[in-house]
Point group: C6
Chain length 79, copies 6
């Protein structure tokens, strides 16, 4: 494997509940950032940039929404 970081915890898109699916979406979004910026110190410095800027928070929301769409389809929407 060319990537040392595991990008999908549990290596599965299947979750028991929508809430767990949503948590997976948040984690998957964060792990792409970890792969792109492997230096923990740099990521730590960037954290307040995401969390205190309205545009960044919305961009986080857009990425999570996109990941969640895939996870929800994988789980047949937990119907």
């Amino acid at each position: 494997m060319s990537e040392a970081v595991q990008m999908i915890p549990g290596n599965s898109l299947i979750t028991k509940t929508p809430e767990e699916g949503r948590q997976l979406a948040v984690k998957m979004a964060r792990l792409v950032i970890k792969v792109t910026q492997p230096d923990a110190e740099v990521r730590e410095k960037l954290r307040p940039v995401y969390a205190e800027d309205a545009a960044m928070l919305l961009a986080v929301g857009q990425v999570v929404a996109t990941e969640f769409a895939t996870i929800a389809a994988a789980n047949n929407y937990w119907r």
Copy 2:
């Protein structure tokens, strides 16, 4: 669970009507922001930034549209 905030109210994507599905989309969009920025005071300060800036309002609209697409599919479009 690593997230203290509940990200999907009711832990279900199923709603009785499109209107309630739309409200769920708005809430889910807001809850991702809450998870990313847990400090209520900071979020309060950012609120006018979203609400008084045309580009931010459109970004909110984009996130809600994306969340709603998933919720609508989950509900088989309330056909």
Copy 3:
């Protein structure tokens, strides 16, 4: 309901024609903005910002395209 504004006119995604579906997409995009910024006076001030800025007009186009994708699927593309 926590939102006073009705976000989906008619509380249905089903329309008779593609044209009416497109009008619904435009209205749904606008109503998210109304929920996020309930003050009519502020929205009135922002209107020329959307309408006279190329980047904003394209962002409006992106939101409408996303809403319309959902409405079109709901209507089985009016086939």
Copy 4:
């Protein structure tokens, strides 16, 4: 109807070929802009902004891609 501009030419998403579907996507993207900015003179002034700015051209491309995804699905991908 609250909108004077026809937003979907022919009031149908069905086209004979992918090429015509693509042309419809471009037209639908432009007509949302026309509805949002009905003043032809203002739109004329904005045209070079779209056409001479790399970021704007890419934003146009993103909107057209999104509209086309819907049209292609409506036509069952002209298979």
Copy 5:
């Protein structure tokens, strides 16, 4: 037809392989730009803007990903 430029080479979304589908996605993304900015000289001047700016390269990537999603679905993912 109002557009002189052919926007979908071969007038088909069907390709033999994923790789050819990806190439079609890149071409379709470029041809929307050509339709919006028909002047070859202006496009030539914009080329380094796309290719030497990180944000632009990512925007190109987003458009190509969106076009490719449609092409992949059209080809039933070359399964």
Copy 6:
């Protein structure tokens, strides 16, 4: 073929696991950038721009999420 760079490693969207699908998404996102900016030296100079800027990291996340949606569908979500 007009593109010298191979854009889909293995010329297939099918992977054994979600994790490998995610790695493919990251690679496909990077290869579009390689096609658009073939000069390795320029890409090398841009790398820190992606990796040290919060907005860029989120844009990378958005592209990867979009590519992954296609790959996940191709693999029937590894169900």
